[in-house]
Symmetry: C2
């Protein structure tokens, strides 16, 4: 109909409905402030023009975007997927949109993406783990963007977080390992540099070893990327050691899956000849054979609670509490007593 095929603005709607832009704006944002009759007229104009608010303008005027940003280390495996999906679903219910970025475990990239999200008017940010430059936190503070740490919970840290105690969780698993009789323990960890989750899991093993009368320094440790292939490589290295470790504890299920695959290739029987453990209890853990003994992390619960807390912070209803999510051991088949000494 109209000759102008460009995007309609508030002004166009106002003209079409024979009211002012202010009234149209009110119809959209606080409908009860406008009388029924005019509202109907306005809404009809909105409908027929196919009007959509311009967010950039709205953000600039209202200083509020109903957008939450999340920067995760990777989308390349399922570690963050489940929790994030729940996080998003919960946010949606509260009227927020989630925008996700992946940093590929690169602090520089993360920095960049935090700025990108903040610049785009994100009302709040979800970050994975504590470890990052202090500059970033002060940047967020200056821009008054509330941020919440997830996937980590450290009672010592005085920063809001919804996560789990990686150290304790891995400690409990190590306890199970040691109780089963293992003494020559090896670990395949994710890169600990700049990754407090990975570091805490290593610390958890060491601490428990010490408490159990083992030498924490006797832990054979390999750090590598969280990829199946890398887990396989590391496992191969460990199996060429003399004497061989009797158990390989992995920083997560992905690494453990790699280890199991390699074990199959090398003809090493798990758990008869060597035990393997994981962490996270993603679906993979139940698929592999033998099924993984691992630590179950209730990712969905974490995502849900993180969403609630972050929206509360954004809306000024919370100064940022910290919530600890409980993990639990899942005993499957990949952990057993060590083989008898030859």
């Amino acid at each position: 109909m109209g000759k102008n095929r460009s995007v309609p603005t508030l002004n166009d709607v106002a003209k079409a409905a024979g009211v002012s832009t202010a009234t149209v704006s009110r119809c959209l944002n606080s409908p009860d402030q406008v009388i029924e009759a005019t509202r109907q007229r306005v809404m009809q104009a909105v409908e027929s023009l196919g009007y959509t608010p311009n967010f950039a303008a709205r953000v600039m005027a209202a200083k509020r975007s109903y957008t939450i940003g999340a920067i995760i280390p990777t989308m390349d495996n399922a570690i963050f997927a489940r929790g994030l999906q729940e996080f998003q679903d919960q946010l949606r219910e509260s009227g927020y949109t989630l925008l996700v970025s992946s940093s590929a475990y690169d602090p520089e990239v993360e920095w960049e993406q935090i700025r990108a999200l903040v610049a785009r008017g994100a009302d709040g940010l979800l970050l994975i783990g504590y470890a990052r430059d202090a500059e970033i936190y002060s940047y967020l503070e200056r821009h008054q963007v509330p941020s919440l740490v997830a996937w980590s919970y450290d009672p010592e840290a005085h920063r809001p977080s919804v996560g789990f105690d990686n150290l304790n969780a891995m400690g409990k698993l190590a306890q199970a390992v040691i109780s089963a009789g293992h003494q020559r323990i090896a670990m395949i960890s994710g890169q600990t540099l700049g990754n407090d989750r990975a570091q805490s899991r290593v610390d958890g093993v060491r601490q428990t070893m010490a408490e159990s009368g083992l030498d924490a320094n006797s832990l054979t440790l390999i750090e590598t990327d969280y990829e199946i292939e890398k887990g396989a490589e590391a496992f191969q290295q460990l199996m060429s050691l003399t004497p061989r470790p009797t158990v390989v504890m992995c920083g997560n299920d992905v690494l453990a899956a790699g280890a199991l695959r390699e074990a199959g290739r090398l003809g090493i029987k798990v758990p008869e000849q060597v035990s393997v453990t994981g962490f996270d209890d993603i679906e993979l853990a139940e698929i592999v054979s033998p099924a993984l003994t691992t630590v179950h992390v209730p990712h969905r619960e974490m995502g849900r609670k993180a969403a609630r807390e972050l929206t509360a912070m954004v809306e000024g209803n919370s100064d940022g509490r910290s919530i600890c999510i409980n993990t639990r051991l899942v005993n499957r088949c990949s952990l057993a007593r060590p083989p008898r000494q030859p």
Copy 2:
């Protein structure tokens, strides 16, 4: 130093450097248009104030955001992860930021998120598959936001896409299945409603059956969600049929993994008693036992090419070509000849 702790603006920088806002803007966007001396002064002011451009304002003024949006059906498994990660990496190299949203396979949610991304000034959009309301495409056209379809390639569709021919790919796999001697074929497919990839894969099997002299209607088909658990359930149903199918072709590796898990539980040997196939060749396919015979999709290549094409479209260097990515059969262990008739 300053008493005002709020976020610095272009104006603040201009004052601090003793220049106009226009000059500051130029320093940031086209540095060669400003003389070295002033630029240094400006950049110093930018640095010391910790200035970050306000994107909302920038978008509104420049009508350009260097942001690409992607809406994927789910983050809950690895199907889209790998391709998307590569997509993002490539975009980054070209100076774009990727923002991702997940629709949970819900068209309504997808619609909403497309609007959200467009409203936030996305320069271009990556969409998965063709199937969506025509209204959406006209909305994008009206807003002049270029969009590219991925994960699907249909020579018939006259819409830019970077993907693979699901029908043909699955057809080739079906050919291998039939060549191996299978006649009682069952399929566990993802929901085909509103999912052209799933539909095409089913069509591929049926078409190949017909071409091979089998009755396409004899295909036993179960549609379910792309979840391991669902794959397991469907497999159980199929195994209770009389006569049993001799092969279960799955719509993707996730479903196939579920089928294999259930087979293990039921004590049914794969591939001796029944064959199973997948689609995608994600890492999972190599992890399960027996390893999956499946269709390899070069997700990274697809992500890379999609990024190149979409940026070209955004920058006006392309009207939107379509690129077909080649898939290939991967023969592993889960497909074998059918058992001899009892």
